[in-house]
Symmetry: C2
Subunit: 336 residues, 2 copies
């Protein structure tokens, strides 16, 4: 449920982490950096800052939970997609604030306002760019049907909840990405968590994988993790860590890549639980919520998915209360 | 003056404008896009979206002015710098909201969350990256003194108001930029203004030049322009347009590039006024506000500069009231 208004005591942003690199021996150029102004020499040689993370903090005047929620985007995305859905409905930022959580929205290193660094001088590789057809398929919005003229037609899956009429608007949210930058990205999230302190992390896709890793790297800070269709797990499933919830949408089993990713998560979760952790799984179709794409926070039932996340997090953000109530894990199962 | 809390009815964002480009004939690659996942084929050929603008809208529950303020960053920056100063004080976003204006903060095409496009396939040139030394000099924070070992030492100007202790943090806000992209950027701002409707535009540096151009391109929408140290004017000084205010900081006359930019603005303003417009100039040192850099919204007197902008805008954002009061231009002169 959203509230009609939200009262904040601060909207602020920080740029954290990163390091200096010195470049030299690069050619200078003469360029006109302002309309109608004379060309000037542009010299890229010298000290640059690379690897920083950017985060916005929305601080409620009266938060109702002790820990803020950190919203982490997936690969090739920025924090912008938490603000509004592609078809213009309120995003999860507003919903989490409505639910009484302080919220941090970040752009990980190399993306959005966190900036990116020169390649091949600093980043060794070229970035990769997502096409609309690739996204249509890999985000499980639908099939690609080859037409007689060779072009592909984008056919949504029956019952699809992604707002397909806003797919072109959604494409405007994508940014280039690099592969092999996991260490840099984790270092950025390290800096963010050290800055924020105790927190709840909600990560989507690649950001979900980073959230699972961050929980292990910062056991005293990360109080709970919600991983929305996490990809790329790099954490020890046997470590004792905070409670985790993984959420999966629809059409997963028919997609080899996502089915494989989900199987890896299931195995990790089983091992974690066998080692005394409280790791939950919510397959949305198993609770009769059908038709969700890889972006449930954009789907037309985004509010319902947010409610699931918020209820699960609310139980875990008041640890003393939970202890009084008894078995945290058992209570959780009742939600689904 | 800021308020301790702000009540909003919406925080939302939009991605506007842009167009599709189709790329083909590019090589595919195999890359591991998630930690520990198998490498997959990455195919950049197909439909991409380029040239969009990103904007966040902070809508007050009870705005006290009829028109929202649009905050436009300068070259190589994003909208992030309006949120907090580099040393962590509240930015102009919070101040304008405190003053009762709805606010839109945008990232222009090619920057931040607006994304950027492949080069040389879409953008024909490589981007340029700002070094710390270049910024120190061109933002008029201080001098560069060559040391015996050949390195440059950054020496702030006496009386400098930029928070020089946060200069390294400030460097984390910079993003790569391209030259020659004015048409694309103006098209992005066109899309934003058409989306917002009647508005007040506050543009910094390159964004100030775009604001002046936008006032002429959208005479029915842009109600007033504040250009903070505008660079790159491309507008007809003889056109009848809304009231404009240009603000200049300190150390300008000793800097040939900025002195020249300021002279161009002075000439443009004089011609505009000779043609019946109401164009004001505020040289901060002339009203005994000394020591401001090229980034007055980051300087340690950023609140005082915001107050000047807010008072000037408030007078122009109630046009019917102003008509009753008489000569708008004459009233303005009294501020300075």
């Amino acid at each position: 449920m959203t509230t009609p208004t939200i009262t904040l005591r601060a909207i602020e942003s920080v740029y954290l982490g990163g390091q200096s690199v010195w470049l030299n021996g690069l050619p200078t150029s003469f360029q006109r950096t302002a309309m109608g102004a004379p060309a000037r020499e542009v010299d890229p040689n010298g000290e640059h800052t690379v690897g920083q993370i950017y985060a916005q903090h929305y601080a409620l005047a009266e938060p109702r939970h002790p820990f803020p929620v950190l919203l982490w985007h997936g690969g090739g995305m920025t924090g912008g997609h938490w603000e509004s859905t592609p078809d213009g409905r309120p995003g999860w930022l507003w919903r989490f604030l409505s639910a009484g959580f302080d919220v941090w929205v970040s752009d990980a290193p190399e993306r959005g306002r966190a900036s990116w660094a020169m390649y091949p001088q600093v980043y060794t590789q070229e970035p990769i760019f997502r096409t609309k057809d690739e996204a249509w398929k890999s985000f499980r919005i639908g099939r690609l049907e080859e037409q007689p003229n060779g072009a592909m037609r984008r056919e949504p899956f029956p019952g699809q909840r992604f707002p397909v009429g806003a797919f072109d608007a959604f494409a405007k949210q994508w940014v280039p990405r690099w592969t092999g930058h996991e260490s840099m990205t984790l270092a950025g999230y390290d800096a963010l968590i050290r800055h924020v302190g105790p927190c709840l992390v909600v990560g989507h896709s690649q950001g979900g994988g980073f959230a699972v890793a961050a929980a292990q790297r910062h056991p005293n800070h990360v109080q709970a993790v919600v991983a929305i269709e996490p990809s790329g797990l790099q954490a020890d499933a046997q470590a004792r860590v905070c409670p985790h919830l993984a959420i999966w949408g629809d059409y997963v089993e028919a997609d080899p890549t996502w089915n494989q990713a989900r199987q890896r998560v299931l195995e990790h979760w089983q091992t974690a639980n066998a080692n005394g952790n409280k790791f939950d799984i919510c397959d949305l179709p198993s609770i009769s919520i059908n038709g969700n794409s890889h972006f449930p926070m954009a789907d037309n039932n985004s509010d319902a998915i947010a409610d699931i996340v918020i209820r699960w997090l609310a139980q875990r953000s008041h640890p003393h209360q939970s202890l009084i109530k008894g078995d945290q894990h058992h209570e959780t199962q009742e939600i689904f």
